[in-house]
Every structure is written in structure tokens, then in C-alpha cells.
């Protein structure tokens, strides 16, 4: 009898284990099934291209992009010794330095003044965020007219003040700055909206107690608003920085990389190299550089952000 019970018990535990295992397998398959569409598409359009780009960067290719000759790191040494790519990197960095602080400072100012509880403030908020709904192509058309050498409003304005007109998009000294100005304008809507959201989530209790202490407007701005806004600011800096490195549309519309390659930013350079010159190998090498730049930014910001940023 005793033996029988023991036997039965062990049978039961075996069954239990089996069922558990089957359940685990089942839930694994179910999980994968729900994730499968995303996993497949990420694999085809993200992971494979990444690996393939690295692979292509070690090869020379024919006109359709089929790798022909293995050249090792030659593509990389070539692009770094090419004055055009050096120029492109330099322009990209300058462009980033113009547009990121530009867009964030202006948007921060707008968000601060639009955060006041005033009648009709909604209209102003809508107007400030409007550029987010304007596509790069349309915004470029708007600015192309403003930059027009004779009819454009900017040169007409200069004339009224008695200054000579500027070749906004044709003068190598001005082109990058002009493209940057229009880019800042395009970015304002998004950065403003996010920063305003950050401001609105600050506890009003903080301001009330500061009011009781008799703190002035700018004191509150410096000691409450900016520190409490730092997580949002941190996010906005990351996004605009990464966006700036990926700029393409306005270059293609406004300058096509000219004059004298002054506005040939890195993505435009990749585009030209791959789809106009059919140099897929060197274009891939440039794409790898772009990828590394963005990777480094993300990691650095992650590390710095964790340490310095004040989270609520």
C-alpha cells in the first residue's frame, strides 16, 4: 500500500512538471507570436540593413550595389582623407551647434511666456506649436521665398534699413547659417510643445510657497522652473541633437548641398554618394560614421543624464 502511494505521488509530480513545462512553452510561443510582426520587420528593415551596411563599407560595389572587391578599411581611410567629407563633417558639426542651442533657447523662452495663466493663452500655444505640423518640404518652400535674392522679404527688409542684400542661399559664407535659421524655425513647434508639457507638470505648490517667501519672477525661474524642467530639457536636447545629425529634407530643397559643399551635411553626403555617384561602399562607410556619432551621443547623454539631471 505504502509503495503504491509513493508511486502515485511521484507520478503526480511528474505530471505537474510536464504541465508546467508545457505551459511555459505555450506562453513562450504566445509571447513570440504577439511580438513576431515587430521582430520580423525590425530584422528585415533595421538589423539586417545595419549589418549589411557594415559589410558594404568594406567593399567596392558595382552600380547596382553588388559588392565586388574587398578593400578592407580603404573606404574609411578614403573618406577621412577626402576634403569633401571633411568639409561635410565640419558643416554638420557647425549646423548642430547653430540649430540645437538655437531651437532650445527660443522654445524655452516661448514655453516660459506661454505657461502663464492668461486669457487667450491657448491661441498663442497653438501658434507656437504650429511649425510642428508643417512638413520639411513646405517649410523649405516658405523659406526659399524669404531667402529669395530680390523678391524675398529678408532682403527687402535689409533694403529698407539701407543695407545691401545678402545671397542667403548662394553665398558660401551665409548658406549654412540660412539653412540653420530655417531649421530652427521648423524645430520650434516640437521643442516648444514638449517643454510646455514639462513646465505644466511642475507642481504649482512650489511656486505658491516661493510666493509666500516673496521670491521674484526671475528668482523663481532660476531656482524652481529650470531645475524642475531639467529632465524634459535633457530629453529635448537629445532628440534635437539626433535630429540635427539626420537633417536631409531642407538641404535637398534649399541648397542641394551647395554652394561649394558648404551645406553638404552628412546624410545628404551619404545620399549623393550612394544614389547619384553609385559609390555604395564609401556611402556605407559614411553611414557607419553617422551611426557611431549617434550611438556615442546616446550613450554619453544617458550617462551624463543619469548623474546630473534632477528627476522628480
Amino acid at each position: 500500500m505504502n509503495e503504491m502511494t509513493i508511486h502515485r505521488e511521484s507520478l503526480a509530480t511528474v505530471d505537474f512538471e510536464k504541465v508546467k513545462k508545457r505551459q511555459r512553452m505555450g506562453s513562450f510561443f504566445k509571447g513570440i507570436l504577439f511580438l513576431l510582426p515587430s521582430i520580423v520587420l525590425f530584422s528585415v528593415f533595421l538589423f539586417y540593413p545595419m549589418v549589411r551596411t557594415i559589410y558594404l563599407s568594406f567593399f567596392l560595389t558595382d552600380n547596382s550595389g553588388v559588392p565586388t572587391v574587398f578593400v578592407g578599411l580603404d573606404n574609411f581611410t578614403n573618406i577621412f582623407s577626402s576634403p569633401i567629407f571633411q568639409q561635410s563633417l565640419q558643416s554638420t558639426i557647425l549646423f548642430v551647434l547653430y540649430t540645437v542651442p538655437g531651437a532650445i533657447l527660443i522654445s524655452l523662452f516661448l514655453a516660459v511666456i506661454a505657461n502663464e495663466k492668461l486669457r487667450g493663452i491657448g491661441i498663442f500655444r497653438t501658434m507656437f506649436s504650429s511649425t510642428m505640423g508643417i512638413s520639411v518640404a513646405a517649410a523649405s518652400v516658405f523659406w526659399m521665398f524669404l531667402f529669395h535674392p530680390t523678391m524675398g522679404w529678408l532682403n527687402q527688409l535689409l533694403q529698407v534699413v539701407g543695407l545691401d542684400g545678402i545671397g542667403w542661399l548662394t553665398d558660401p559664407k551665409w548658406a549654412l547659417l540660412s539653412v540653420s535659421i530655417s531649421t530652427v524655425w521648423m524645430n520650434i513647434g516640437f521643442t516648444f510643445l514638449i517643454l510646455l508639457g514639462g513646465l505644466q507638470s511642475i507642481d504649482s505648490y512650489l511656486y505658491e510657497s516661493a510666493d509666500i517667501d516673496g521670491a521674484g519672477y526671475f528668482y523663481k525661474l532660476r531656482r524652481i522652473t529650470i531645475p524642475m524642467l531639467s529632465p524634459t530639457l535633457f530629453f529635448v536636447v537629445t532628440v534635437t541633437l539626433i535630429n540635427a545629425f539626420q537633417t536631409f529634407g531642407q538641404i535637398d530643397m534649399l541648397t542641394r548641398g551647395g554652394p561649394q559643399n558648404e551645406t553638404n551635411l552628412i546624410v545628404y553626403s551619404i545620399y549623393q554618394e550612394a544614389f547619384m555617384n553609385y559609390q555604395y561602399g564609401t556611402a556605407s562607410a559614411q553611414a557607419i560614421i553617422l551611426f557611431l556619432i549617434i550611438l556615442v551621443i546616446t550613450i554619453v547623454q544617458f550617462k551624463l543624464g543619469e548623474r546630473k539631471v534632477h528627476y522628480q
Partner: protein, 272 residues
């Protein structure tokens, strides 16, 4: 807190000046789209007469109507694809327990670090080899999988009480039915936010449609605008502006309607 009058005046002044400066490029374009070409050529700032001629011309001279349809189809398809894939993935990350889930979640995070611009060369070749150049498929499918959307919905799904899931399990409701009948309706607001965001970004996409289209059959409005700008002679600014205004109108309307939700949704996805 009430503000003293002089402070109020300063704020309204700052707000108004900023609004004029920010809105000026769009307003100028809007005005120009109604101006006869002589007015524009002679550099007039205030139009002598208003006309709808530019709008008639832009539809006459370019297949703008086709471009609009194409953009609409592509944007809606991308939007729906993103909603389905992101909500399915978010469901798995919140409600299903299985081995390797955290590793997969980490992989999803990692995808955000790969810029699309850095992988366009193989992607272009893939689309070309599949024969998807000049097709809605090639324009939309690469954008279906979306880490940002998955995060946004994951945050939202997490707020659904776990007891609800347990109760439904006892009642014998399967995961897919629970996803369809409970999770999706509860997360409606987030889905709408994500949908609006997806539509906006797809409508405004530039680089990919430029590469993936070679003729007018599926070309989107943004590339249509590029065509218009490069083909038109420079004295037809009114027509070009009319085209640009038509292109931005749908997204602006969508933005104005969904501004509050979008702001909250983006901030949530960004910060949590």
C-alpha cells in the same frame, strides 16, 4: 495668483511679438497663395486683389490630387500598421510572462539607437530587389515596427489592473480576445495619440519617398512639392505657395485638434 497689470501687459506684448515672428513665414505663404503673380513680382507686401487662380493652376499643372491621394493612403496604412504592431508587442511586454521577454525588450530599446538614415542603402536595395519601388507596399511596410509606439502603449497598458487579466483567465477568455475586447478599448486615448503622431510623421516623410518613388503613380505630396518647386519657373511663386498650403493643411488641422493629447502622450512616452 493674480498678476499685476503692468506684468500682464509685458507678457501679452512678448507673446504677440513672438507669435508674429513665428507665424510670419506661414502667413506670408498663405497670403501669397491668394496673390496675383504681378503683385508678387513687384514685391508688394499687401495684395491689391485676392484670387483663387493659384489654387486652380496648381491642380491643373501638376498631379497634386494624385499626390494627395497617395500621401493619404500611405499615411493611413502606416498609421494602422504601427497601431497593430505596437499594441500587439506592448501587450506581450505587459501581460505575457515568458522566458526572454526582458532580453527582447532590451532589443526593442536598442532599435531606437539605429538611425533610419544610416541604413537607407540596404533598405533601398531590399525594396528594389522585391520589386516594391513605386508601390504603396514599399512606401509603408518599412515603418510598421516602431519602438517608440511600443513604449508609449506599454506605459498605458501597465495601468490596466492585473486583476482584470486574472479574472478573464478564470472566465476562460483567451489572450487575443482579452487584447481585443478589454485592452484596446481601455487604451483608446493612447491609440488615438499614437495614430495622430504616426499619421503626421508619415505625411511629412521626405527621404524615403524620394528614394522609393520614381514616377507620379505613387509619389507623395512632399516629393510632389519638390517637383513643383524645381519645375516651376521662379516667377510662379503664388502657385508653389498654393501647393505648399494644401500640403500642410491636413497636418495643421490634425495638430490643432489633437494638440493637447499629443503633447501629453509625447511627454509620457519621453519621460517615463
Amino acid at each position: 495668483m493674480t498678476m499685476p497689470l503692468h506684468q500682464k501687459v509685458i507678457f501679452y506684448l512678448l507673446l504677440s511679438i513672438s507669435a508674429i515672428l513665428i507665424f510670419a513665414p506661414a502667413i506670408i505663404a498663405f497670403l501669397m497663395s491668394f496673390m496675383p503673380s504681378q503683385d508678387i513680382l513687384t514685391g508688394k507686401i499687401i495684395p491689391t486683389s485676392l484670387t483663387l487662380d493659384n489654387y486652380v493652376q496648381v491642380f491643373d499643372r501638376s498631379p497634386l490630387f494624385n499626390y494627395l491621394i497617395n500621401s493619404f493612403v500611405v499615411s493611413v496604412v502606416i498609421m494602422l500598421g504601427q497601431l497593430v504592431l505596437a499594441s500587439l508587442a506592448a501587450y506581450a511586454f505587459v501581460f505575457l510572462n515568458f522566458k526572454g521577454r526582458d532580453a527582447l525588450f532590451f532589443i526593442f530599446i536598442a532599435t531606437m539607437m539605429v538611425p533610419f538614415e544610416a541604413s537607407i542603402i540596404p533598405n533601398f536595395q531590399t525594396i528594389r530587389d522585391m520589386g516594391w519601388i513605386d508601390s504603396y507596399t514599399g512606401l509603408s511596410i518599412p515603418f510598421f515596427a516602431m519602438a517608440f509606439g511600443t513604449f508609449l502603449l506599454r506605459q498605458n497598458f501597465k495601468q490596466i489592473p492585473k486583476e482584470l487579466k486574472e479574472a478573464s483567465e478564470i472566465a476562460g477568455i483567451g489572450d487575443f480576445r482579452f487584447y481585443l475586447t478589454v485592452v484596446l478599448p481601455v487604451a483608446k486615448t493612447s491609440l488615438v495619440t499614437l495614430g495622430v503622431y504616426g499619421f503626421l510623421t508619415s505625411w511629412n516623410m521626405y527621404l524615403w519617398p524620394l528614394l522609393a518613388t520614381t514616377n507620379d503613380s505613387v509619389r507623395t505630396v512632399q516629393i510632389g512639392l519638390r517637383q513643383l518647386q524645381s519645375q516651376e519657373q521662379l516667377n510662379e511663386w503664388g502657385v508653389i505657395m498654393a501647393g505648399a498650403i494644401i500640403v500642410v493643411l491636413p497636418t495643421l488641422i490634425l495638430l490643432f485638434l489633437g494638440q493637447n493629447k499629443l503633447q501629453k502622450g509625447l511627454a509620457e512616452g519621453a519621460l517615463k
